[in-house]
Symmetry: C2
Subunit: 190 residues, 2 copies
């Protein structure tokens, strides 16, 4: 094979993770990351479009999985039922990634710039799911709205899951969708 590229990406990601954890995102230069990986700054930018992106790889996998599940759901399901099913279908993916995403969250939470990128990724995920709903015949504005709500529920489920490590993610998802119904129903008090 021609010189392996995955090898370099892996090392760059690892070096970045270490340096961000040690010195913080802002105090770390891309040249330092590249140096620790035994590479040049220029090579860093050949693998990642910008300094932040080194922490956000694999996001497209979740996005694709969620969108696919949304499109493939039985046609008779309502938008929210569709999203419920789609969320349930990506639990395995999220559970596999948990060991990686846990330390990442700490780093991201410590830097406004990284937080900004994180919410941008979340918004992109929302647009992707909304597009999938549209392909099921949902009106554009409705699709965007439903996707936003569905992702808020998923985020809440993940928050519950992070708060209590013993709970399976699937249970958290069930609970989050149940809490959505309670929140949205007009009769319910606090």
């Amino acid at each position: 094979m021609p010189p392996n590229s995955e090898h370099a990406r892996k090392h760059l990601r690892l070096a970045a993770l270490e340096l961000f954890a040690e010195n913080g995102f802002d105090q770390t230069t891309t040249a330092q990351i590249a140096a620790r990986a035994g590479l040049t700054e220029r090579t860093f930018f050949r693998h990642f479009p910008d300094k932040r992106e080194v922490l956000f790889e694999g996001q497209e996998i979740l996005s694709a999985a969620l969108s696919d599940a949304t499109m493939r759901a039985p046609a008779e399901l309502s938008p929210m039922q569709t999203l419920h099913l789609a969320c349930a279908s990506v639990t395995q993916l999220l559970e596999d990634n948990r060991p990686f995403s846990e330390p990442r969250q700490h780093i991201i939470a410590a830097s406004p710039a990284l937080l900004e990128r994180e919410v941008a990724k979340h918004a992109a995920l929302g647009r992707s799911v909304a597009a999938a709903l549209q392909r099921r015949g949902v009106e554009p504005l409705q699709a965007t709205f439903a996707a936003q709500i569905g992702l808020a529920v998923l985020s809440h489920a993940i928050a519950l899951w992070f708060a209590d490590a013993s709970l399976p993610l699937n249970d958290c998802i069930e609970r989050a969708f149940a809490e959505l119904q309670m929140l949205a129903s007009p009769a319910k008090s606090s």
Copy 2:
């Protein structure tokens, strides 16, 4: 008075708006903005922490209004009733700002970097509202969840409002909250 600062800010904002509309965000340098405002690049960065922020002023006003209304709502209201009331209480503010926010949206939508900042502002608004709900006694995770849902409803209401200029924003808000109930209720089909 000592040399007026508001004057410079206004001119910088106006110059930026014009240049972004003419040449796009990426093709505009901060030096150009400052030059059109009759100032220096250094002065630009004394008034705005970064190039994007010149488009995002007044956001704190909405954030403060929404948080205040959330905190001041009658104690017996449920979280979602509280947010419904809070949303209704900022319609005037949003309607007054519409002439400014409409052209801004076009510029923002044309630049990924600006879109990223916009969703970051939205997320910050969500954190602020969640904090307000917490001060009403709502549990942290619940508060974050409810705030997310509430802001998604408000966003949807604004989308409806932008889609049909003849509708009053208040009607859009009522409709958006009604649509949330329909979406969330399990019995309903698409």
